[in-house]
């Protein structure tokens, strides 16, 4: 599911997706980005296994928890 967001035009809204879809879609979108570009993952939980994969691949990420319970994860390729 692609949409735009003030933080970046590259967004995966995985809030109503079942695992492992959010992981798969995030990794797929990261592959399409240029180095230094950012993407945003929206999720109702903190994806610790994804964090681990991002760290292993050298991608930086920042997480913000919104009042409605959405985690916004901004990932830099």
């Amino acid at each position: 599911m692609s949409m735009t967001h003030p933080k970046t035009p590259h967004v995966v809204d995985a809030r109503y997706m079942e695992p492992p879809e959010p992981f798969v879609q995030t990794m797929e979108m990261l592959d399409t980005l240029k180095v230094g570009e950012k993407m945003l993952l929206l999720l109702f939980r903190e994806p610790h296994p994804l964090y681990k994969a991002l760290r292993q691949n050298g991608h930086a990420y920042e997480t913000e928890l919104l009042p409605d319970g959405t985690f916004e994860i901004l990932i830099t390729r």
Partner: protein, 433 residues
């Protein structure tokens, strides 16, 4: 991609499965105990057989699944990696299993030595788990209500275990302690600050994930665990300083908070995006319904003790809360977590060349729903048995034992299907070589 899906430190599938399959067998034993002992067991919560039955459900089923699941999911939900999860599972599982059998046996027979053995086994198991999980969890930052809740839940587990151990020894040695008050506190910490806080912390992740609902509001998530532990601290302070109004306030706040969590989850379930009711939805629906009634009853009985002096009320509350709420919510989660873990391990074993069978093939929904219907029938009989113990206690015990036996059987079959697929994968790769 496949390598990334398999968590490097994740223990093998059989590590949590041994807890998940043993738990319903111990719950079935609780049903068999009721079948054996009959209606006397439901006359008062202080009946020795009732204490045995309670602990087969709380330690044998609830604690067994909770600790087994935490060994598996701490890295996934909290980013906290245990040092040797398989070794921990191998040591903890027999300690819990033999510990709860000795405890139930000790309660039912009044045998002093059994209670002492049970205390030793369960406290060793608890300490072992608390040390490993505590070390892993405290090195993880509290970036979500889930992580913060898990930390508070572990503290509450240690208080519950200490109180439980002290009570078992006091009972074994006949020490003149205020046993009813201490027992209530033990139950409050174990069910409120440990089980409910843990359940909520895990629910923040798994309810939206597995039932496709919106998320819990962040603020309620951050406040829930500290508020519940504050209520239990008030209650404890009230007991220590002999201040009955403070005890009542603590109890009512704890029940009110539980009620708020139940209501919030029921509301989220109405917003779910999956049309077909599956087993997790059904178990959560019936579990939350029982929780709602139980907590309303707790609030009423506490507020009007004279009007509700019948000893059957606490028994009814216990039945609604333990087999009715916690067993149901945990079973619902098992029906999602077990096939998900199996799928994940098979996917990783297939190394991207062989696709794992779908989750529904490992644990078919129709079988899970059939077990839920049987469980619901058993629950209805258990509730009615509180009012007609002489007639219904034995059939209700038998039905509950069958429903729990069927849960163990369903999970065992999932393990068998998993092993068949694993064998096929191994054959494929050996042929390819």
């Amino acid at each position: 991609m496949q390598a990334l899906l398999s968590f490097e430190n994740a223990p093998p599938f059989t590590a949590p499965l041994r807890f998940f399959i043993t738990a319903p067998l111990l719950a079935a034993l609780a049903g068999l105990l009721l079948l054996w002992e009959g209606g006397d067991l439901l006359l008062s919560r202080w009946h020795p057989g009732a204490l045995a039955l309670t602990h087969l459900l709380t330690v044998g089923f609830m604690l067994m699944v909770m600790l087994g699941a935490l060994i598996q999911i701490l890295p996934v939900v909290a980013g906290a990696s245990l040092r040797s999860p398989l070794l921990l599972a191998r040591l903890l599982h027999p300690l819990l299993t033999f510990g709860v059998l000795a405890l139930a046996g000790g309660f039912a027979s009044g045998e002093q030595q059994l209670l002492q053995v049970a205390t030793l086994l369960l406290l060793s198991g608890g300490l072992l788990f608390l040390a490993s999980a505590g070390r892993a969890l405290w090195s993880a930052p509290s970036t979500s209500p889930t992580v913060a809740g898990l930390k508070i839940a572990l503290l509450a587990l240690s208080v519950s275990l200490l109180l439980g151990g002290a009570l078992a020894l006091a009972l074994a040695h006949g020490w003149a302690w205020p046993l009813p008050e201490l027992t209530n506190l033990h139950a409050g910490w174990a069910l409120g600050a440990w089980s409910t806080v843990l359940l909520a912390a895990v629910a923040y992740v798994v309810v939206p994930m597995f039932q496709l609902t919106p998320a819990y509001q962040a603020r309620s998530g951050w406040y829930f665990a500290p508020a519940m532990s504050a209520a239990l601290l008030l209650w404890s302070a009230g007991e220590i300083f002999a201040l009955p109004p403070l005890v009542l306030l603590g109890k009512q706040c704890a029940a009110g908070l539980g009620l708020a969590f139940v209501a919030q989850t029921m509301y989220l379930q109405t917003k779910r995006r999956r049309a077909r009711p599956d087993a997790i939805y059904r178990f959560w629906q019936s579990g939350l319904g029982c929780g709602l009634f139980a907590l309303l009853l707790v609030l009423t009985v506490n507020a009007l003790p004279d009007a509700f002096s019948w000893p059957g009320w606490p028994v009814l509350i216990g039945i609604l809360l333990l087999p009715g709420t916690f067993v149901a919510l945990i079973t619902g989660m098992l029906y999602k977590i077990v096939p998900f873990l199996g799928w994940m391990h098979l996917q990783s074993a297939g190394r991207g060349k062989l696709t794992a069978p779908s989750m529904g093939k490992l644990l078919p929904e129709e079988e899970n729903l059939r077990q839920w219907r049987l469980y619901l029938f058993a629950m209805a009989s258990l509730i009615l048995a509180v009012f007609f113990p002489a007639w219904l206690a034995r059939p209700a015990g038998a039905l509950f034992a069958i429903a729990m036996g069927m849960l163990a059987w369903n999970l065992f079959r999932a393990l068998r299907r998993y092993r068949e697929h694993l064998r096929r994968i191994a054959e494929h790769f050996s042929e390819a070589v």
